[in-house]
């Protein structure tokens, strides 16, 4: 489904991704862990199409060259990035934003526009599960939201947009235990045989609730070790440095 080969990315002359290879099949959940500065967020941003990086190599999604597409076209083929730092956009209503996004993506997939009332009904269902007050719909996008509210809003968007490839960039960071549980449950609910997930995290805690099929360690801009969820436990117990040192490259 997602195929990444020899992916390189640099910004302002500094190499961040340095020949990264990764394949994710349909329905699989992969976790990427790694020390600060390893290139985790860069990977997420490059896959979603953020400007500013010099990118080479290959990243295809179901055979479509992602790197050639504008961010909105990546969303249309089913890529979704849950931001590490969701952007506050005062003046743009959350509901208007979300419904616009859902309808643009639906139109590109050949589906009919969803009406305001139907949209509201579906949104409220998702919000109830995420323990979000429906009042968030009438507020500006992320404006004045707490850290946990922003992350829930990301999961809400993901639930509404129904992506084929969900990339979650440190969605667990900054959450208290209760919020982490709600967000983890939200992610787990979206797990499905035709949806792949790439979960970027610092902390194995999230992976207790959303058990990945594979765990990768990103270091120096490439994947240096892969394993199953036991690798996350090993990292938790021993730290990156000794875990990586213990295994010859």
């Amino acid at each position: 489904m997602l195929h990444i080969a020899n992916l390189r990315a640099s910004i302002a002359g500094k190499t961040i991704l340095n020949g990264l290879d990764l394949d994710i099949a349909a329905g699989e959940v992969h976790a990427i862990m790694g020390p600060n500065g390893a290139g985790k967020s860069t990977l997420a941003n490059v896959l979603a199409g953020r400007d500013g990086y010099v990118v080479s190599g290959e990243a295809t999604f179901e055979g479509v060259d992602l790197l050639a597409l504008a961010p909105e076209d990546r969303a249309a083929v089913g890529v979704f990035l849950a931001f590490q730092h969701p952007v506050e956009i005062p003046g743009v209503g959350n509901m208007y934003f979300l419904r616009s996004a859902v309808n643009v993506v639906r139109a590109k997939r050949g589906l009919p526009e969803i009406g305001a009332m139907d949209f509201l009904g579906v949104a409220k269902e998702h919000m109830a599960r995420l323990e979000m007050d429906p009042a968030f719909l009438s507020r500006s996008v992320n404006a004045g939201f707490s850290g946990g509210e922003k992350k829930r809003n990301e999961i809400l968007q993901m639930s509404m947009l129904e992506p084929r490839l969900a990339i979650l960039d440190e969605t667990d960071s900054g959450l208290d235990i209760d919020a982490l549980r709600i967000v983890a449950q939200g992610i787990e609910r979206l797990r499905s045989p035709d949806r792949s997930m790439l979960i970027i995290t610092h902390h194995p805690r999230l992976l207790d609730d959303v058990r990945p099929d594979y765990v990768h360690v990103l270091s120096g801009g490439r994947i240096v070790r892969s394993g199953d969820h036991h690798l996350a436990a090993e990292l938790e117990a021993n730290g990156y440095t000794s875990t990586l040192a213990a295994v010859p490259a």
Binding site: A48, G49, R50, D51, A70, P71, E72, R74, A75, A76, F80, L81, F83, P86, V87, I89, P90, G91, V92, G93, Y96, F97, L98, S100, A101, V104, V105, K108, S138, S140, V141, Q157, L161
Partner: protein, 416 residues
């Protein structure tokens, strides 16, 4: 030009602070070259007025090329206590208010010419103690003759509007300056007297053709305890100047001025505001916003005067600009003359670009670049568009802004 007292009044010079950004020589030469259209034979229909200015439910006075058009106007059945019509000396009411022209004096050559050469003047009078619920709409349409023998010269008009709001009254006013395609010169003046404890909600919308020249002057006189809120929207014109002078004569008066200019192509939009605190305990706010694209130039000069001997003055000013192209230019200049001690005064100005992070966020959700830009521009000016109290006008303005900026039209009611 001669002033009322017979003295010669010159056009202003760009050496004067208030005219610093305005290409006065160019405007003067356009004025000189423009021709007055004959009072008859315009091709403006009711449908055209509806499309250009909107129908906002209240009485409507329509002027085409500065000449009153009875067929296009609706002000026969106005609420009791409201009078609107022309400044005709034979009409007692209006005559009383031409006396109001005592405060409507010319302060420069443009105003002198407006007073001397204007054809018809609109007058709106609200008796004391009357609350009018429907907005009074004064529409000025520039209709250049693009086909006849005058096709080569711009059409000139000198619209003048006098509004007198009695003590304790309340009224909403909408002024629209709009036009058909082609070259026109509009040299407009408006004077509003807000009586003691009266309340005025005033929207001024300028959507003339992008080949038009617009010189607008609004003079507001506020008496004790009065409140005025003015929302000004500047979209049209090749060169357009929007001057607003507020004089706070009585204590405890409040003024809120909100405005936006949407400037693109090679347009020049100048906003020049003066708020003169001549009495104690008055509060004024100026919040002006510019969205400037392509080779457009927008300027804002905001003056606050606080007279000696006044106390407890509250005066605030902000000017925010969104510059969308490397060739676009925003100039902003606060100008404070604080001549008293007991004053709370703030001012601030910003010039910025669209937020790249916000654009990427919207696009990452599937929203195309154009629509994402439109959303962010709409959000930037929402402070102004949301302040428009009439839903039909809000929608009308949003559609024109969208069209003028090549933006995707969005209904502001949906953006909430």
């Amino acid at each position: 030009m001669k002033a009322a007292d017979g003295s010669v009044m010159d056009y202003p010079s760009t050496k004067e602070e208030a005219w610093r950004y305005t290409p006065v020589d160019e405007i003067v030469s356009r004025l000189a070259a423009a021709a007055t259209m004959p009072a008859t034979g315009t091709s403006v229909s009711r449908q055209v007025v509806d499309a250009l200015a909107g129908d906002h439910g209240g009485p409507r006075l329509v002027f085409v090329n500065g000449v009153y058009d009875a067929d296009l106007s609706d002000h026969d059945n106005v609420p009791a206590g409201l009078w609107c019509g022309l400044a005709d000396l034979s009409h007692g009411r209006a005559a009383a208010n031409v006396a109001l022209a005592g405060i409507d004096w010319a302060v420069d050559g443009f105003l002198a010419r407006n007073h001397a050469d204007g054809h018809d003047s609109a007058v709106v009078v609200v008796d004391p103690g009357v609350r009018i619920d429907v907005p009074v709409h004064v529409v000025h349409v520039s209709a250049p003759d693009n086909t006849g023998e005058r096709a080569d010269s711009a059409t000139i008009s000198h619209p003048r509007t006098i509004i007198d709001v009695g003590s304790g009254s309340r009224i909403a006013l909408i002024q629209t300056y709009c036009g058909l395609d082609g070259r026109a010169v509009t040299n407009a003046s408006t004077t509003i007297r807000v009586g003691r404890h009266a309340e005025v909600d005033h929207c001024r919308v300028q959507t003339e053709s992008t080949a038009a020249t617009h010189i607008g002057h609004t003079r507001i006189e506020q008496e004790e305890g009065s409140r005025l809120r003015m929302i000004s929207v500047t979209i049209g014109g090749d060169i357009a100047r929007n001057a607003i002078d507020v004089h706070l004569h009585g204590p405890d008066a409040q003024t809120e001025l909100v405005g936006v200019n949407v400037t693109t192509g090679r347009q020049r939009h100048d906003t020049v505001v003066t708020v003169d605190h001549a009495a104690s305990r008055c509060a004024s706010t100026q919040r002006f916003t510019g969205v400037i694209d392509d080779h457009g130039r927008g300027s804002f000069s905001g003056e606050i005067i606080v007279r000696p001997g006044t106390v407890a003055t509250d005066a605030h000013q902000s000017n925010r600009n969104l510059v969308l192209s490397p060739n676009a230019e925003a100039d902003t200049r606060p100008w404070l003359q604080i001549l008293a001690d007991d004053v709370r005064c703030t001012h601030g100005a910003t010039v910025g670009r669209l937020d790249d992070d916000a654009l990427f966020y919207l696009r990452s959700r599937g929203i195309p670049l154009d629509e994402a830009r439109t959303m962010l521009i709409g959000a930037f000016i929402r402070d102004v568009t949301d302040a428009i109290p009439h839903p039909s006008l809000r929608t009308h303005v949003a559609a024109i802004i969208a069209a003028s900026n090549g933006m995707v039209a969005t209904d502001p009611e949906r953006m909430r």
